[in-house]
Point group: C2
Chain length 199, copies 2
């Protein structure tokens, strides 16, 4: 048996994920089939199934990649002197870097989750993991009194993640919204919500 | 020609909208057809088309009804002594009253808007109208120094509407989120974001 080159394996996985995203965009998640994905990737089904055996597995992998990116961003907090500014910076970065196509796809997957229990399960686990990462960052900043220690870190994280994703989706869908103005207001909201209270 | 009784006409329109929502929930907006809606409403196509001539017209009417509710809520501000508390109360009310099925349907319509320009146009106009209503309420409270006059009312409204809708959708989809705790955090966020600055 030939040995698998891990880099090449990962590159093929990415190729399949990108082909899947293109199909989901064109047809919607529900209507796109594994056959469409094979055609888009220009790969045989036998070959595609070596990487992912279902549309759900592809969605789970896309969520995982998102969490890896967020984890990498949050790891920078370990080396930061000013946790608060770094958190604002990371939030701003995550929002401006968020690809409009990905935000639109996020709406599609939430809509699918309302009807499809397997997708709902993946999306729920993903949301819980993202909220836990953000809550840990908030708690770390609270320990250093850079975020108001009286805040309920878990609930604050849940609300901020929902707000950030809700805003990204609307910026992607409503071109009339002024993105820099909205992002400035969001940054101010974070700052006022999280800052330690005076006095 | 028989005269139309306006109350009866409105009741029939509501009946058609409710039948449509049941179909959209079961099949998704894209897959549900006008024929499905007629069957669900137990009405002939000729009859249904007197009220709405397309799925898009039904969506537009559902959005309109939402705006009417929000307008009625915001009108209470005219008679309020404490604008700030009334705004918090209205926001809390709108969030807790939001039917999980309606929030899930909101995700479906955002997803459809990403692919269907006619739906996108309806959703965009709706969002702009809701943001304008909230911005007007914020400006009114700013004039009375109950909300920080330095805030950009339009951008603040856009961010808060996105946050509220993003949170409602997630509360509907993720039963593990603790709704009272999340709503308390959201209320605190509103309070800290909007309050006049001291000193």
């Amino acid at each position: 048996m030939r040995k698998v080159n891990p880099e090449r394996f990962e590159a093929r996985r990415r190729h399949v994920r990108e082909a899947a995203l293109a199909c989901f965009k064109r047809k919607g998640f529900h209507q796109a089939s594994m056959a469409d994905i094979c055609a888009e990737a220009a790969m045989s089904p036998g070959n595609v199934y070596r990487y992912y055996d279902s549309k759900e597995a592809i969605i789970a992998a896309i969520c995982e990649e998102d969490r890896r990116q967020l984890t990498a961003r949050l790891e920078r907090l370990q080396h930061s002197r000013n946790l608060f500014d770094s958190m604002l910076e990371i939030a701003g970065e995550a929002m401006s870097a968020s690809d409009p196509e990905k935000s639109k796809f996020g709406c599609e997957i939430l809509a699918e989750a309302a009807r499809n229990e397997r997708i709902a399960e993946i999306v729920r686990r993903h949301n819980a993991a993202v909220v836990a990462l953000c809550a840990a960052a908030i708690r770390q900043a609270q320990a250093q009194r850079q975020v108001d220690p009286a805040l309920d870190a878990e609930a604050a994280a849940a609300v901020l993640v929902a707000a950030a994703e809700g805003l990204s989706a609307r910026l992607a869908l409503f071109p009339a919204l002024d993105a820099p103005r909205s992002l400035a207001a969001f940054r101010l909201l974070l700052q006022r919500f999280l800052s330690p209270r005076l006095g």
